[in-house]
Amino acid sequence: MNFEFSEDAELLREQARGFLQQNCPPSAVRAVLDGEQSYDAALTAKIAEMGWNAAVIPEEHGGLGLSYYELCVIAEELGRAAAPVPFSSSVYVATEALLAAGSDAQKAEWLPKLAAGEAIGTFAFAEAAGQRSDLGTRLANGKLSGVKLPVPDVDAADFAVVLTGGDGGSLALVDLKGSGVQAEPVRMVDFTRGHSRVTFDGADAEALGASGQGNATVDRLLDRAAVLFAWEQVGGADAALEQAREYAMGRYAFGRPIASYQAIKHKLANMYVKNTLARSNCYYGAWALDTNAPDLPLAAATARVAGIEAYHFASKENIQTHGGMGFTWEFDCQFHYRRSRLLAANIGSLNLWQDKLVSALEQSSAA
């Protein structure tokens, strides 16, 4: 039994944490929160220099060919720092889409650029409130038309993986810098992660994978992404717990630290429990992701449900622990409260993943 990350991965974690403490302190998050930019471009560039974008891209495509454990470690640390970067869209989804469904030519075109940090990708799946059905976007004769909302990280991205409608759905690859693409910024609950409403009006695009396989591919992609999102969530949830703990130890009421009151002690203990369960489920998710285990759908849904809940709880009760200061703009508690909601929405909600989880259980009990 060896159910911990390798020493290499742990070394990478230390390195990543140090790097982000240096390059993504709270002031960097706040700069995006308060400023006009939708992401931290300098940090994004430095992360690319660190090679994180290239982690799991095979060496033949210019990547580092590391295991997914390394990527999970990076995800956790990015989540802990609430980093305002377009990493998840590009690395957990767009890169994976190319790896899973890209033609040799598509891989050859984009993967080296992604690995080198010369290109950033994103994904455009959703169109309206509620669950996806009857998507209106279509690819015909190399031209893409339709409206996608919300699309993450458009400001930073060079291309997007777009889910189009029709029987079974299809995926398209579109150059976001080309003509026929119009993006308007959309304000999100999390101001530190730019999102847009993107109108494709006959934009040049090409099919990614076989026609009619889009929905199935997206399901597989989201299983993989869910594990990585969950690691970001666990990182964020732990950071929120740590914020709450520090504040509760230093804040006195009635002559003693508020951390000595059971209402606060048990609140933090509950955070710890949820975070620990989520982390352990994420370990299994990492294993299933790296080994592409048949169990991945269950492992991914379990990690995602646990990650959503742990981060939601920790981020809201962190504010509560801070009392009045917690809901002021001046304090940093808001970073995780905003981010937790974004990550909960970005690749489909708790409801969706709870249902997927039980479907996976049904399949494994029927098998």
């Binding site: 669950q131 609950v189 009421a253 009635f254 703009w329 929405a345």
Partner: protein, 403 residues
């Protein structure tokens, strides 16, 4: 058991409604005015007609009515669109304190202008280091001739920037136990040395202020209660903090949540058909209806002349976390779009997202969830207080940590 007014109540309600129908200003009469001017316009009109401050004695500008009349008036007024009030703290908290502790001259000078809306008051109690431990305040008052000199900082002061006067608790003696060294004043908010800074909230709003005092002078005549008796005076103020009746006014509720669930899809069917959505709606309806009917019981007691007690803390204790839970749940129902907070694109102009961002404040302002639970445990169920580490210790020797 019935939902009807008594004969007297019905007559009062009819009179109130008739006056309101005839006198509520049309929206275009005040829409161009600022918040304060609009509020003053409406308050003055009520005052002139004898509808201001229902329960106050007539000599101070009130109507001389009773608690249930106040409730009925509130119900009827709330059926109209009127300028939002900015007088709640002055009329609801400062005035009862003045009635109990001010000189006759002061009452005659200040109360009618509070009733008429001519002057606005704010409350200067909370401090950064205090929080739930309200009495742990540090703002210093030192006697200097016939004046007191005030130095320190208050926080969470609603309306400080448009207030004319404020009620203020200070520490006049830090060498005695926490509750014993306090002295209570009122002051002119335009006094030299008073500085006001708005506090921005994570929801984007700025309903509160920080107020800094630098050598602010207050005449001893503006002291309320004896030196060192400030806590007793403050309790009078706090007892009059408006009993929160009902869960009223939560922006996300069963009605708009159910409507959303009828509009969006979940697992290929309208979300309202999903068992989890239904179970949650049922739970929230139990809470909403339970709070509503609890408020009916409170009103029944009030109409029998009883005063609402600490059991009314449940409105906030239940309502605030519920609003947060419902907001998050509704955002989940919208899937990816749930994280959009853009009035032009979000369902119902972003009311769910706004509620998500403002509900943390609801769970804290006016007493945290944890304090509310303590109030119910101690004052309703009679359980012992938490153990106190500061009991009987001189205030300046109480451990304070780093904050």
């Amino acid at each position: 058991m019935d939902f009807e007014d008594s004969k007297e109540e019905a007559a009062f309600r009819a009179e109130a409604r008739a006056w309101l129908e005839a006198n509520v200003p049309a929206k275009d009469e005040w829409a161009h005015l600022g918040e304060v001017e609009a509020a003053k316009l409406w308050q003055k009109r009520k005052y002139d007609a004898g509808w201001a401050c229902i329960r106050w004695p007539k000599e101070y500008g009130g109507r001389g009515g009773d608690a249930i009349q106040q409730v009925i008036w509130g119900q009827e007024e709330s059926k109209f669109t009127t300028p939002p009030s900015v007088f709640a703290i002055g009329q609801g908290m400062a005035a009862p304190t003045l009635m109990a502790y001010a000189t006759e001259e002061q009452k005659a000078r200040f109360l009618p202008k509070l009733a008429s809306g001519e002057e606005i008051w704010c409350q200067l109690f909370s401090e950064p280091a205090g929080g739930s431990d309200l009495a742990a305040l540090r703002t210093k008052s030192e006697k200097d001739g016939d004046d007191w000199v005030i130095n320190g900082q208050k926080i969470w002061t609603s309306g400080a920037h448009y207030s004319d006067f404020g009620i203020l608790v200070t520490r006049s003696d830090p060498t005695v136990a926490k509750h014993k060294g306090l002295t209570y004043f009122f002051l002119d908010m335009k006094s030299p040395g008073v500085e006001i800074k708005p506090i921005k909230q994570i929801s984007g709003g700025a309903n509160f202020n920080e107020v800094y005092f630098t050598d602010v002078r207050i005449p001893d005549g503006q002291r309320l209660g004896a030196v060192g008796q400030g806590w007793q005076v403050a309790l009078t103020t706090l007892m009059n903090e408006r009993a929160s009746i009902g869960a009223g006014g939560m922006p996300v509720n069963v009605k708009n949540t159910m409507a959303l669930a009828q509009r969006v899809q979940l697992n290929g069917r309208p979300a309202i058909e999903d068992g989890n959505v239904r179970a949650k709606l049922a739970q929230w309806h139990v809470q909403e209806a339970g709070l509503k009917y609890t408020s009916y019981r409170t009103m029944t007691a009030m109409s029998r002349g009883q005063t609402p007690g600490p059991e009314n803390s449940i409105g906030k204790l239940v309502g605030a976390p519920k609003a947060q839970d419902m907001a998050a749940f509704c955002m989940d129902l919208m899937e990816e779009s749930g994280a959009i907070w853009d009035p032009a694109l979000s369902e119902e102009a972003g009311i769910f997202q706004l509620c998500y961002m403002s509900s943390p404040g609801l769970r804290i302002a006016g007493g945290t969830d944890e304090i509310m639970a303590n109030i119910i445990a101690e004052r309703v169920l009679g359980l012992p207080q938490d153990m106190r580490a500061d009991k009987g210790i001189p205030f300046n020797e109480v451990p304070t940590g780093s904050s």
